[in-house]
Symmetry: D2
Amino acid sequence: MKLPRKLRYGMIGGGRGAFIGAVHRMAAALDGHIELAAGCFSADPAKSRESGADLHLDPARVYADFAEMARREAARPAGERLDFVSIVTRNNTHFAIASAFLKAGFNVVCEKPVTLTLAEARKLRDLVRRSGKVFALTHNYTGYPMVKEARAKIRAGELGRILKVVVEYPQGYATGTVAETARAKGGAEAQISGWRANSAVAGASNCMGDIGTHAANLAHYITGLGIDAVCADLTAFAGGALDDDGNCLLRFAGGAKGILYASQVSNGEENNLVIRVYGTKAALEWHQEHPNELVIKAADRPVQIWRRGNTYLSPEARMATRLPFGHPEAFIEAFANVYRSAAQAIADDVFGRNSPRTGYDFPTIDDGVRGMAFIETVVKSSRARAKWTKFPKV
Amino acid sequence: MKLPRKLRYGMIGGGRGAFIGAVHRMAAALDGHIELAAGCFSADPAKSRESGADLHLDPARVYADFAEMARREAARPAGERLDFVSIVTRNNTHFAIASAFLKAGFNVVCEKPVTLTLAEARKLRDLVRRSGKVFALTHNYTGYPMVKEARAKIRAGELGRILKVVVEYPQGYATGTVAETARAKGGAEAQISGWRANSAVAGASNCMGDIGTHAANLAHYITGLGIDAVCADLTAFAGGALDDDGNCLLRFAGGAKGILYASQVSNGEENNLVIRVYGTKAALEWHQEHPNELVIKAADRPVQIWRRGNTYLSPEARMATRLPFGHPEAFIEAFANVYRSAAQAIADDVFGRNSPRTGYDFPTIDDGVRGMAFIETVVKSSRARAKWTKFPKV
Amino acid sequence: MKLPRKLRYGMIGGGRGAFIGAVHRMAAALDGHIELAAGCFSADPAKSRESGADLHLDPARVYADFAEMARREAARPAGERLDFVSIVTRNNTHFAIASAFLKAGFNVVCEKPVTLTLAEARKLRDLVRRSGKVFALTHNYTGYPMVKEARAKIRAGELGRILKVVVEYPQGYATGTVAETARAKGGAEAQISGWRANSAVAGASNCMGDIGTHAANLAHYITGLGIDAVCADLTAFAGGALDDDGNCLLRFAGGAKGILYASQVSNGEENNLVIRVYGTKAALEWHQEHPNELVIKAADRPVQIWRRGNTYLSPEARMATRLPFGHPEAFIEAFANVYRSAAQAIADDVFGRNSPRTGYDFPTIDDGVRGMAFIETVVKSSRARAKWTKFPKV
Amino acid sequence: MKLPRKLRYGMIGGGRGAFIGAVHRMAAALDGHIELAAGCFSADPAKSRESGADLHLDPARVYADFAEMARREAARPAGERLDFVSIVTRNNTHFAIASAFLKAGFNVVCEKPVTLTLAEARKLRDLVRRSGKVFALTHNYTGYPMVKEARAKIRAGELGRILKVVVEYPQGYATGTVAETARAKGGAEAQISGWRANSAVAGASNCMGDIGTHAANLAHYITGLGIDAVCADLTAFAGGALDDDGNCLLRFAGGAKGILYASQVSNGEENNLVIRVYGTKAALEWHQEHPNELVIKAADRPVQIWRRGNTYLSPEARMATRLPFGHPEAFIEAFANVYRSAAQAIADDVFGRNSPRTGYDFPTIDDGVRGMAFIETVVKSSRARAKWTKFPKV
């Protein structure tokens, strides 16, 4: 990527101690084309100010109120103006913040799930469309080179017709030492952390919203298949209102069958997102915790392990790579690929390129709407005792 | 095991070219305490005779009719009499053959699924109980030492309360070159082999009967938990009457949730039976294709790999082992463990030991009834569009 | 294999509690073509008798003196006569026992290392040649199907010219709890078990003799390359006369370079024999503890995992297999392949087949001589402070 | 890390298309505390200028002559002055460039091998000492969190006394398609790329200098053991003056034995650096291509897999981590850890902290001298036909 100057961005959320804000900053910084110029890191002015100082920001551009930030940053002269903002706050605030910045004329990068409800997501989609601005959703797992290779193989027909998709996303954090301590005092079997247990903040689902949407998005990105219906069984082992485990049967458009599960009570699992796609000609398997490899299997042929960084890979996989083979890339680079692709679109907006606004490879508001539809459909199916529930038209 | 003489057995089925008959013979022979003395290897007299000759049998004890074999072998003098028979024929014949030999006073080892229907299985159970004879069902995966270790750990409470069970059994044989050839001519996407596609021979399910029952049995053996209800989606990608793929949500007695799937259209998978059990204290994971290892995971602790043959294992695992660590054991040894344990019970019957007839570790007619109930329940649930269906009282 | 009757064999060594004798018996029994008919299981008459009873042998054919056994068994009538003997005693007795039975007209299967010294091995080779009898040496790792596949690939030129061979054989038994206890009392850092520490029984080397010879034999079997010179550094961490660890640089005929190491003080390793062979066109890698897979690597191509039991394998690998893919085979089956191949040669001797006495695939006395040369060469090199030492003409 | 402002650095080398320069820039940028402010990216003025423009640099601070850069940047006012430079040029230029910048008062980060010869390295060490400046050498593999965990375990005595070290570094690039093409025309079996084949640029060794030094440095970093003597066999399969493969026996101070090998002709290997360290109490194993795991083995205990990001790890490993468990980190983060630790030392120099100039965790000029001694010793040993050669006093 060649740009006339660095892109400037502001961050909303991501103050001291926040995990995902730091990830966004590393991802944005990696290629040297994006610089942080403003931020509203916390609604607590002191905390926001200190976070801004940690990050070497001009104190005049550090805010504690996102609306004020949108207003004042929009008023900056062109040579200082932010090219985009990154929203890394809690789920229930995404809609208002994204709306404010889109209306103020900024491009937006936003954490998932995109909003609190499907209705909000649809409204935001309308706003994005009207604004003409870039809206990128950080379903970061699509940024891995070998995920792009998987998608390229399926697009090229190398798997034949897809018969079955299995996507698994077990985590075990909710059963760790915190839960052990609670259990010892007669508490529930698991503990969801903080605001994620609160439906007013997290939405209709905790586990399916937090990580199930990643699993569903990944399956869609790789296979291109839409979900036709789901049959879901969500459980709240932690005893609260929201699920911490969910198992789904899937039917895809075109007849493929599937299983999707996400869990935060799978003791000892870390972030073990795995997808396997079986087609008539071949199958593929990818493990997020070993992301540099893509396994290709087919009956009556040796198993193949395709490895990142090699010349034999698709252009999509090769372009998403920074290091030679054997020098492993991982989570940050994948995240940075979402940023890099979004930055290309943003640069085209900012610098007035004539290139068509298509062909970018990053998740959009449409993925956001699809994700919210997924959450609401699995919740509905589970409440109806695992009844097959049609996926709504998005 | 110390026996006053070798046990003698006869085989029904398992003629030239049959896979599973040869497996039974190797498993029986491994420890040097069991010898083949008679057989009805095929209903085709010439084929049975030739198979008997291959196996160095006395031609006078090679039959083409199992009923004749039961009658004539029962008439032999004590010093020649068979101690048990092994039934390795097609599903639809198990009931009649097992009944004939039990009635003639023989102990029985039988392939799974135990019968064609649940009703037959219940009848056979009655007969076994009345006969007082040993009936062993070759759910061979329970014979692996590290499966026994998994069970011992759960029995000892090392996993805490079980929250979730995931058991996967993908095979891909139905999508191999045979299917490719068929597809090229406009055929279905998959091909089930031979009699397995015929419900009159295979029963109400192909895939769930053939391998799904192994998965369900393994989950039961390891966790000790009964299935309370299933919600199943079976598919016949090969286009016939019987499934070649099935996905199930499970609810276990006591509240654990689960996923069980079995497939023969998972291209490139060989015999990839995997089980993961998640408890409040820890989790375990076992892969049939790498059977010498048992993975133990728990949040906030290093992953552990327990390996066959070590002194730190449970007595159950150590007693099921023949070789020192690092000298891998596999499928045949596990199968031989079912034979060895059944042989102990048979020897107690034959040699009139006073030891109580309990404490043996091999699958019985009760496992057979449970397996048939599993088949009929998943078929029923799937036909009702994945409705949660109660597991019948067995 | 089709034989007119079962082959009969006798065992020397392998009494109660012995590991390798039981392995030989399982390997011999697996295919149902070989039966144990006599034995000299121990020089202690009571122990030999009890071992024979455990194994259901005729007490008249159980001995405590191998010379007596050779004499009396040779005197048996043809219909009872042993077709071969298996020698599973300590290293220092192989020469005398093998000589006695060869002279008495028996075929011989023998444990490695073949003798105590290279000089003995050469004498035994002369005797074998004069006798015209079959002599099979149980370098059992050559029996694995994927080892045969490795060899077939190299023979077919698929690796191109071999540039480098790395063969590693770490074990850690000598550093286990026994050693811990000893160290706590001020003992050495490691403990070699029993007679293996005694050069009068074990020979010039413990570790290199016990497992280094397997490594060297495996490299030779797979690559077909002879060792030209070695540069070795042996260590006795246990403090005795004999090595428990050895590292060697190798030069092969034709210019390939290599590393071979064997160790019994590699804490936590079980029986981790690994070979990697790098050629100009491709490379291969095989792990004894995961024996059903053969990894094929080449620059600029996906890694391939060739798996046992598939139709795409070489005839050599397919013929060495008993179970379908995904149903893992392991140590015993590999061992049984040595027996099966030797049994074919023995049957050809016994039943007077006209087939040429070539083309069998089992280790012979020539491998034994080569192994003793390996031991003596590495010991010599190490004593000369890792001087490059020519491999003697064998 | 909290800094009053971002650190500013300049780069020498690393123009368009260079691999390692881009790695340094990503590593420096990752944490948001270091910014690129000047550069001499190429001796070709146009190329340097274009590279500077790609990187959004002020053209006035882009040079084509490093001496001019040192002079002019040293003349800048304090508020613009570089805090350090990063040298990513070819081996033969390191000494002159590092000397120039040290003399001009700059801190230095430098690629390995540190110089062309051991003599140069010693001279540079003197200069560093006299300058009082920070000199960091990018032996980046020491930056991995699980490498730091390995070191912490050994320092804490968890492995007991070290008996054996095996460090392997196979690559296969020299046997790839380029070599295939050359071989097809009758060329050598392998092809070393570009200047690495030229001893005037690369030094006395290609393979041992390029990657063997990493292996030796890693072994030293983890174990703390100095090499006492080496016995080496280097080979130039590509047929030139410099090695592309080298195998070494090692003796460490204190009695541990070892094997170290590095290769660029190991077909199909990518960057497969692996280290195994065996002690009396336990052993450890780490694979660069799967860097988030550290395997701990001990006889009579389950294997343990320690995983990055967990609370159970040592402070050293936890401080070297940016992401939660299960969100894999890789090469860039490890590299960034070298930068972060060096940046702390540089900040202490620049901002006049009173903290003692010790306790930093990055490779220094002493590692550089040790690396050059390693190269010269293995070359000497190999030329003397693998004679045991004492490691010089460094």
